[in-house]
């Protein structure tokens, strides 16, 4: 048994941390709230090979797994950055399994072009709706090689060159971003720009992937967001710990008070739960495909819980100073607030977890 990162994976993680530390992503996150440009990591992502992580080697990528991508996402969460990556990883995941893999992937692997996936929930094959829809919208329709429909609040669509769009009936197609309307929206957390997309008969290339691939992509997306949230949780745990050692009240460091100490250890507990389940999701992505849905959605629930609890506890440990604009703690809090409702949110992930367990229990009944 070896339930830890391989040496290569540990190196990938270190390298990601190092590369991101050279960009002032956190000051950039604050400035972006006031309308400043978000610092782009795309060049770094291309140079470091993150854009090609999920692209097979024969198409110019690294041919790695979703687990490896999770390690990069974790560092992005830690540093409040990563715009573009989630969508690109999702899109290349699908494209790698498509008929057009050979022609498209080499352009995407080095980051020269950016792709993004419109995320469709396999629970009911819907997408997040735009504000004019109710919460959920049906999948776009493909007819005569043209896609029509819409989706709302999708990460990373803005700025992408190519969009991978699931359509009703169980497949996905590729459209040029330039041929559709993409409206960028920011809600609370400027580090994760969203977009509404409207397709009105956009010319589309069928990708020849089935519903299973799209379901796997969705669950992989859950795992990627879980890792991102884990990064957030561990970052605020460290921030809160450092402050609790340094800040004094009543003649003692505040971290010596049980009430403060126990809350910080509780962040650690949540983060530990999330880390274990992220590893489980990684194991499933590497070698247990039947468990991917359960593992990835468990990881997502735990990750978002850790990030939500951690970020608000970090604010509280910092007292008044923690709720000022100039402090970093609120930036992490904003990220966690938005993150927990993206891609079906923590509630959607919980639904998948329950569904997988009920499936297991039903199978026991039929097999005995």
């Amino acid at each position: 048994m070896n339930f830890e990162l391989s040496d290569e994976q540990a190196m990938l993680r270190e390298a990601a941390a190092g590369a991101l530390s050279r960009i002032d992503t956190i000051a950039g996150a604050r400035a972006a709230l006031d309308g400043g440009e978000l610092p782009s990591i795309w060049r770094t992502a291309g140079e470091a090979g993150w854009t090609g992580l999920l692209v097979p080697e024969e198409h110019g990528g690294a041919g790695l797994t979703v687990f490896d991508a999770m390690l990069v996402m974790e560092q992005c969460g830690r540093r409040l950055t990563g715009a573009g990556l989630l969508g690109h990883l999702g899109a290349t995941f699908v494209l790698s399994r498509s008929e057009l893999a050979g022609s498209l992937l080499p352009l995407l692997a080095d980051g020269g072009r950016r792709a993004a996936l419109v995320w469709a929930d396999p629970a009911d094959w819907t997408v997040e709706g735009t504000p004019s829809d109710e919460r959920r919208a049906p999948l776009p329709e493909l007819s005569d090689g043209r896609l029509s429909g819409s989706a709302g609040f999708q990460p990373d669509l803005a700025g992408a060159d190519l969009l991978v769009v699931p359509y009703a009936g169980g497949g996905a197609a590729l459209v040029e971003a330039a041929s559709v309307s993409v409206e960028k929206v920011v809600r609370s957390d400027a580090t994760r720009p969203l977009a509404h997309v409207r397709l009105e008969g956009a010319e589309a290339s069928e990708l020849g992937v089935d519903a299973d691939v799209l379901a796997e992509a969705w669950h992989s997306g859950q795992a990627l967001l879980a890792a991102d949230a884990l990064g957030v949780a561990e970052a605020v745990q460290e921030m809160a710990t450092a402050y609790a050692k340094e800040r004094h009240a009543f003649g003692r460091a505040i971290g010596s008070f049980q009430a403060v100490k126990h809350q910080i250890v509780e962040i650690m507990r949540h983060a530990g739960t999330a880390r274990s389940l992220c590893y489980y999701a990684g194991l499933a992505a590497e070698s247990r495909p039947d468990e991917l849905a359960l593992a990835a959605n468990c990881a997502r629930v735990a990750g978002e819980q850790a990030a939500a609890y951690g970020t608000r506890t970090c604010l509280a440990v910092h007292g008044g100073i923690g709720s000022t604009w100039e402090h970093d703690a609120p930036l992490y809090w904003r990220r966690a607030q938005l993150s927990r409702i993206l891609l079906g949110g923590v509630a959607g992930a919980g639904e998948h977890v329950a569904e997988e367990l009920i499936k297991q229990a039903r199978q026991e009944v039929t097999t005995t």
Partner: protein
């Protein structure tokens, strides 16, 4: 058990309502003056309310108040809200600072400060908290030294509401560092336009600027600037905080959270039929509705002459917890749009509220010790001269 007015109260309410009916057009929009760029109309409105004896309802008549009780104060607050008018601009002055001056101030201070405070002609702010002394208020470092028959003050204050509009501040400073920390404090009145006072707005999570930092650099004050005895400032400050609790209770109708607010944006959505949503809604409702009836219990005690104890602060915990659940529920049901606007603002305010006016942790200690009689934690700082507490001073 009866929430109705007594006949006297009903008559009082009718009078207040009639006055407001007649004068409501003079009120600026009821948005809090805090958020206004131009507070002049709010000052004017407070002056009108003061003329009608609707400001300082519980202040003694000799100091310009109405000489009535907390029930009447609550009647005024709820009638103002009902009429859709703006409330008192300088609510901290009226609720806490004025009563403190009435309790501890000299006759000169009372006759100089109270009337323009009531009318809003002069604004006030509370200068207690410091960057290194929030929860541990007695740990403040702002120093006041005797000099030429007066005082010279230096230090920094923070979390000052309305500081940018204030003419005077009630400021807690250390006058004797060689005694234990609760013992060497004194309360002062400081003119905010005195040379050496600088007010800087403090931007919060939400981007709004509701608080200030106040820098006090070598500010000279007269000997008469002290409120209450020299070195007895801790008792004065505790009195101010007790008045704060009473004021919050009487303003219940302005602060209360109605759970129906939470239902409105979800009406018609399928999620509202789901058991999960409904249980979460109920959980918020229980916390919020309880706040109102807990306040009625506390007000009844107040009416009976009891002083509100620290347990009144427990409401804040329920408010924050219920509010957080409410914001999460709406975000789950409505999506990212719910992170902005009314409930988005609430979410970040709640996280700030958790530490405002004493953290939850301090509150729980105080209640455990004073109300339940649980033994205190061992303290090292209580009997040691403040000047020997190096670790504390190193606090950032």
């Amino acid at each position: 058990m009866d929430l109705k007015d007594t006949p006297d109260q009903a008559a009082y309410r009718a009078g207040v309502r009639a006055w407001l009916e007649e004068h409501r057009d003079e009120s600026p929009p009821p948005a809090s003056g805090l958020h206004a760029d131009d507070i002049a109309p709010y000052r004017t409105w407070q002056a009108r309310l003061a003329e009608a004896k609707l400001v300082g309802v519980t202040w003694p008549e000799e100091y310009g108040g109405a000489g009535l009780g907390p029930a009447e104060a609550m009647i005024v607050n709820s009638e103002i809200a009902r009429a859709g008018c703006a409330g008192i601009l300088d609510h901290i002055a009226i609720g806490e600072l004025g009563p403190t001056i009435i309790a501890y101030g000299s006759e000169e201070q009372k006759s100089r400060y109270l009337a323009p405070m009531l009318s809003g002609d002069e604004g006030w702010c509370q200068l207690f908290s410091e960057p290194a002394a929030g929860s541990d208020l007695a740990g403040i470092q702002t120093r006041a030294r005797r000099e030429n028959g007066g005082w010279r003050l230096s230090g920094q204050k923070v979390w000052t509401t309305l500081g940018q509009f204030a003419d005077f501040g009630l400021l807690l400073a250390r006058t004797d560092p060689d005694v234990p920390k609760h013992k060497g404090l004194t309360m002062f009145v400081i003119p905010m336009d005195a040379p050496g006072v600088t007010v800087r707005p403090l931007r919060q999570i939400s981007g709004e600027e509701n608080f200030n930092e106040v820098f006090v650099d070598d500010v000279e004050l007269d000997e008469e600037a002290t409120v209450g005895p020299v070195d007895a400032g801790w008792a004065v400050a505790m009195t101010t905080l007790m008045f704060e609790r009473m004021a919050v209770l009487s303003a219940l109708d302005q602060f209360s959270f109605e759970p129906v607010r939470l239902v409105r944006p979800m009406l018609g959505l399928p999620a509202l039929e789901e058991s999960g949503t409904r249980q979460r809604l109920a959980s918020v409702a229980v916390e919020w509705i309880a706040l109102r009836y807990t306040a009625y219990r506390a007000l009844t005690a107040l009416e009976r002459g009891q002083i509100p104890g620290p347990e009144a602060g427990l409401g804040k915990i329920g408010l924050v917890q219920g509010g957080r659940e409410a914001c999460e529920l709406l975000a789950d049901v409505l999506g990212p749009d719910a992170l902005e606007g009314e409930f988005g603002g609430l979410a970040s305010e709640l996280e700030s509220l958790r530490t405002a006016g004493g953290t939850n942790e301090i509150l729980l200690n105080t209640i455990g010790e004073r109300v339940l009689g649980l033994p205190p934690e061992p303290r090292f700082d209580k009997d040691k001269p403040f000047s020997e507490m190096r670790a504390e001073k190193a606090g950032v």
